[in-house]
Symmetry: C2
Subunit: 489 residues, 2 copies
Amino acid sequence: MASSPTLLVLLIFTVTTTTIAELTPNFFHQSLINHQINSKSNIPYQTQFFPQLLDHFTFNPQSYKIFYQKYLINKKYWARGDPIFVYAGNEGDIEWFAANTGFMLDIAPKFRALLVFIEHRFYGVSLPFGMDSYKSTETLGYLNSQQALADFAVIIRSLKQNLSSETSPVVIFGGSYGGMLAVWFRLKYPHLAIGAVASSAPILQFDEIIPWTSFYDAVSQDYKDASLNCYEVIKGSWAELEALSVQRDALPRISRLFRTCKNIQSVSSARDWLWKAFVYTAMANYPTEANFMMPLPAYPVTEMCKIIDGFSTKATKLNKVLAAANLYYNYTGTQKCFDPENRTDTHGLYGWKWQSCTEMIMPMTTSNDSIFPPVTFDMEKLVKYCMNIYGTMPRPHWITTEFGGYRIEQVLKRFGSNIIFSNGMQDPWSRGSVLKNISGSIIALVTEKGAHHVDFRSARKDDPDWLVEQRRQEVEIIQSWIDDYYSEF
Amino acid sequence: MASSPTLLVLLIFTVTTTTIAELTPNFFHQSLINHQINSKSNIPYQTQFFPQLLDHFTFNPQSYKIFYQKYLINKKYWARGDPIFVYAGNEGDIEWFAANTGFMLDIAPKFRALLVFIEHRFYGVSLPFGMDSYKSTETLGYLNSQQALADFAVIIRSLKQNLSSETSPVVIFGGSYGGMLAVWFRLKYPHLAIGAVASSAPILQFDEIIPWTSFYDAVSQDYKDASLNCYEVIKGSWAELEALSVQRDALPRISRLFRTCKNIQSVSSARDWLWKAFVYTAMANYPTEANFMMPLPAYPVTEMCKIIDGFSTKATKLNKVLAAANLYYNYTGTQKCFDPENRTDTHGLYGWKWQSCTEMIMPMTTSNDSIFPPVTFDMEKLVKYCMNIYGTMPRPHWITTEFGGYRIEQVLKRFGSNIIFSNGMQDPWSRGSVLKNISGSIIALVTEKGAHHVDFRSARKDDPDWLVEQRRQEVEIIQSWIDDYYSEF
């Protein structure tokens, strides 16, 4: 195992660790894909397609190419003039985001809201060049956040016109990358959305706005809070894996230990597989049983630590963390073996990889207190990596140039309004979001025990009080935006 | 003469009337070009060039092409940390805008401001493809307002970094189209400019936000206010020209009457030449002698009407208006003849023609009370015209989708801050701007006697009190933005 690998965080809600030295990305995303397919049935939305312009910001002949952008719509509670709630689709199949954003469906009757979930260009089936969309930089070049925001703008305007409901107030929702898009949409298109509800939106995870160690420090903190022993076991396990890796027959031995379906080709696959389990479990550290990334019990970090703490002291740290990882990868107990090197590509993943190599440059490193082994961020390596795959130069300062982020409190204190930044501190992405009120109407709703956009999940009877209260506040604030809006007519 | 020609307004500060039926644009812009050349000497700015990205909003291989964008800079009054005043260059050579925006130079010492005038891409010498920039839609496609705003963002960020003055507050200024860009820049890039001063910025001249007759009604009002007889003479003169045009030897006769250097090919050239004189004189109805479009006396509308009213009642209306037009075209008395069909193209003009055929669709018509003959706006004809020249479809709703405009009071009342909309009611473009305060910090400064961005011109000893007062208020407001900014550090 490389002593100081540089990791690329490639997915906003699914952290994929890639050893740049390999120049081969790891994608461990199969569960999500299965979920996407499964979730397509029985959803309370109609599927529609919008003829969308390929390029909003140039007027070349090829800019005028039309592609069909998918959106889901639910008109059940709505009449002309009533509010429209739009979900800003992120990096994947829109059904999956709709299924994981039950909050909007839950509150639609109260607001008599039309619900619209817009799929992000180049994800799901909204592929501008069909199956050729990912073929080259000539086609991929049109995949980025600004074009996506303009897509939303065009669809919202057209939809209101087609519904003869131009005066309907629009509120835009989004979680994770979709939350970033929701905030940016409110900031860039205030004439089209009266407010934004952004859950777990790490709009400050760019450039040098926040410390680069924030993300992995937050993951570490989750495990430390659960149990100090647990934290120390995970922290110490990597050295054991490294020691194994220099032994004879390292790969078959590690494969057996990790119960892989076939022998792994590289120790880093095993390391990344473990790494991912701890990161995703922290993100999905929900207060109730849930199936966001994988089926998991309530408070899965605590459960993992219980497993680790339950071992006798004689057991190796590696054995303990493997038992913990089993919770993440095999909570249902149906997996006979694992496949850490499954690099099946899917459109959604490939798209985010592109975005991570162009605009979505989020530097992340580990600190000494991290449960993870040392990683550094090296812009030169990233450039080499991206040039190698795509022949495309990253633009590491573009997001902060286009959307800001530095000194956000001062900038937005006297500018902008009607944004909710909701975050749960269990979610490592929270550290890249806005955690304090900026003004009377740019509000941070932070819960100590929340995880990755937990507030956007459907309400359940066993939801804890703090979650019920967080959602209640969101509804109250949204209501005030809508009341203000109608009062000015 | 066509009975009901449809006119295209092609230039924001230089209205060019084009009879769509001809499918050949008229450009009467020579004076401006001469001015540009003359004004290049002895300006208090250094010329710099910035290596700019061709396309900020795609990541295709061609997006990465670098071109050299010109900007003018004056550091005389500035030290690190002091404010930076940026002028958002419009559709022409940046020297010309710098020369006509003496206000910034006048107030720079008080603010210890760095002055930067950024040339708009595809104008002046900031040509992404050199002399081939206007060759085809493949190259012209990159000319639009959003790319221009992103250019400004990238330059401002880079400049602050190179000056090691990241904390300097930036105020963005602009007049006319540049004023629109300044407002939009403040709205889209609040993290890069703490405020915008937009003089004569018709951001509402799009789609169906304001009545389409507003512009020409305002021109008519200027002449009516000067003298009812003057208004009626101009209004009645077109019928006389039309009557002439159906007579034998119409073109030579009209040519003689209009004192053209060579016989005109089309009556519409003569009509447009007259038309333009009245529009530009209204725009440049400054309280002091000035040379913005052409050398003109103080209050040239009044002077024109004096000429018209000074005639005996026996003179034809056409003779009267021709004498008035002579004031506009020949105030210095040096012109022996006129050349209404001079269609010399220049980059600046061609660029705005392109913008008018893609995003800058500003519908304008005349009402019955207009001093001008009837014109209608026909989107189908515009589409045909633009398809014929460029093969490019106009996007008539794009500006309002991207930048808003409808219900701007309600939208910006709770969103945005620190914008001055300054307007003079003599300027017909004022009708497309913001004429009432929107909030405590989105302010309309309106003068009854002001014309096209008169407040941005250099202060003169003979400036009237209302103009001195308007500029004083602007300085006071800018000072309050800067004070607020520094107080939050």
